[in-house]
């Protein structure tokens, strides 16, 4: 099958949260219970077991005289020297997915669409994928014990439909399709933004040579990834696993020698 994915173009995100709502409704996700965070318009806070699409609101204060008119993207509120960025974050569906590699039960698997999904009838709530994910996407549902995350609407894909968030997005900030096609479209969009003077616009996760082998759900950002609370150079933890296993092997051998020395090396 062709690899399917998301291209989230944050330059046209208006922060409406239709994606969050559509995702919750279609996937029947319980409420996110962060209460009132006081963090801009963001009360879902982060991705987690009950938030599979999360619209981040980034308020950046910048002095008013340093805000020239030509930055005029719709998402910028320039009058009082405030720049307001919105971005709908989601599971990256990594090419080399740490969550999937560390999962001991096989609950996490790669679908025929090259997406990464948790099988809810297999997950035993061991929690290993939670700190393994370099983006903090997965989390455990406390009352349920299992981990949950974006399935890229696996059920809808099997019926030839697009994911609920992409269908609900009114500005096409969330685009669903064949990953290769999305890469081309994103490249064109980036060129347009650069030509319009948005020099700090960049693609995030389109590079198949990055530390996770590229994302199945990649982004166009208007600033450094850190600004959106995203890691600048994520790396699949299992890339370092061979050397870690070697260290453990050496440590085990050292323990064996230490035990032998204790038993045979002294007076009884």
């Amino acid at each position: 099958m062709t690899r399917m994915g998301f291209f989230t173009d944050t330059s046209v995100c208006i922060g409406c949260k239709a994606c969050e709502v559509a995702c919750k409704e279609w996937n029947q996700i319980p409420a996110s219970d962060h209460g009132f965070t006081g963090d801009s318009y963001d009360n879902t806070f982060d991705l987690g077991a009950n938030t599979w699409r999360h619209v981040a609101f980034v308020e950046q204060r910048t002095s008013a005289e340093r805000v020239p008119a030509e930055w005029g993207l719709q998402t910028y509120q320039e009058g009082d020297g405030m720049r307001w960025l919105m971005a709908s974050d989601v599971c990256k569906h990594c090419t080399e997915a740490a969550c999937l590699e560390v999962c001991p039960t096989g609950a996490l698997f790669r679908t025929e669409f090259d997406t990464v999904v948790v099988q809810e009838d297999i997950c035993n709530g061991c929690g290993y994928c939670v700190p393994a994910c370099p983006f903090g996407v997965l989390d455990q549902r406390k009352d349920d014990g299992r981990v949950w995350k974006c399935t890229l609407c696996y059920d809808r894909l099997k019926d030839g439909k697009e994911p609920a968030c992409a269908q609900a997005c009114p500005t096409d900030s969330i685009q669903f399709g064949e990953l290769e096609v999305l890469h081309v479209r994103a490249g064109e969009r980036l060129e347009k933004l650069h030509a319009a003077g948005h020099e700090s616009a960049r693609l995030y996760g389109e590079d198949q040579d990055d530390g996770v082998g590229g994302f199945g759900a990649f982004f166009l950002l208007l600033d450094e990834p850190e600004v959106y609370n995203l890691p600048p150079d994520p790396k699949t933890t299992t890339r370092d696993l061979p050397e870690t296993w070697r260290a453990a092997l050496a440590a085990s051998a050292a323990l064996g020698l230490g035990l032998a020395a204790a038993v045979f090396g002294g007076r009884r």
Partner: protein, 294 residues
């Protein structure tokens, strides 16, 4: 075209999730290490003709092998699905590898102990004890691989030394328990193991913490710092008392208790440091930025 506005560069919220593992896990790190090293000690003591120590060590290994799965199952979000751990064998998942090692170790330790207890009526009892002794070695180290194989910076960046910290802690744990429960004339190997394990663990922990560079504040602040400081004091104190354990029952019991407490707190210190590190977005981002600019 104009200069872009000054932007915040440090994320304001954690980038990765803190582990969801609960109190059972650091105690399991202790129990697994204790059992693994005790099984190896038991088999070697048997080979050296020290049957008293061999039998006590076999009992300690069995106790650890019984406590370990109980702790692990209790930590699961869906304890009723604990058998799903053995659906696959996956080398990219240290938890999967460890589950198989623990299952095999537990079976071998149980058979080996039963053979001892029934006066040699279990077929291949000695072979089972050999298997337990060998399997105990990876059982003591794989837990370090498990935590290092995450996105948690303080754990991941100490991946080359952490297995050595854990096996020295395992040696100290087994040595301490057996120093306390073995009659002094037979406890020589246990005393040596306890004292050497405790000293090596203190030295390696200090080296691991300083080797973390800008991430070392995970161990220099908060819970991990308090636990780590107490662990080192207990281990050093226990080792000092342990030097006199051959001559005094009281000293043997005290050394065993001090080093056991130190080994438990040392596991807790590493465990808590991971939470501190995961919660700090600078820990996640700074090494990545350094990688990009190098």
């Amino acid at each position: 075209m104009s200069a872009r506005p000054a932007t915040q560069t440090a994320p304001s919220k954690p980038v990765i999730k803190e582990p969801v593992w609960t109190w059972e896990i650091p105690f399991y790190f202790y129990a697994g290490g204790l059992a693994g090293a005790a099984a190896g000690l038991s088999r070697l003591a048997e080979a050296s003709g020290n049957d008293v120590l061999a039998r006590r060590a076999s009992g300690v290994a069995l106790a650890g092998a019984v406590a370990s799965p109980a702790l692990l199952v209790s930590d699961l979000g869906k304890p009723s699905r604990f058998l799903h751990m053995l659906r696959l064998f996956k080398v990219t998942s240290p938890m999967s590898v460890g589950s198989w090692v623990l299952a095999a170790f537990g079976s071998a330790t149980g058979l080996g102990w039963l053979d001892h207890a029934t006066g040699g009526r279990v077929p291949a009892g000695r072979a089972a004890r050999t298997a337990a002794g060998v399997l105990g070695l990876p059982l003591a180290s794989y837990t370090a691989v498990l935590v290092a194989n995450t996105a948690v910076p303080a754990w991941h960046e100490s991946r080359r030394i952490l297995p050595f910290v854990f096996v020295s802690g395992a040696a100290a744990s087994a040595g301490a328990a057996l120093t306390a429960v073995t009659p002094a004339p037979y406890a020589g190997p246990a005393r040596r193991l306890a004292v050497a394990g405790a000293i090596v663990e203190v030295a390696l922990s200090a080296r691991m913490e300083s080797g973390l560079g800008e991430l070392s504040d995970a161990y220099a602040t908060g819970d991990a710092h308090r636990l780590g400081t107490a662990a080192k004091a207990l281990l050093v104190g226990g080792a000092a008392v342990g030097l006199g354990a051959a001559r005094s029952r009281g000293a043997a019991a005290a050394a065993g208790a001090l080093i056991t407490a130190g080994a438990v707190l040392a596991r807790w210190s590493v465990f808590r440091a991971g939470f501190t590190s995961a919660a700090d977005p600078r820990h996640t981002v700074a090494p990545q930025r350094a990688r990009l600019s190098s």
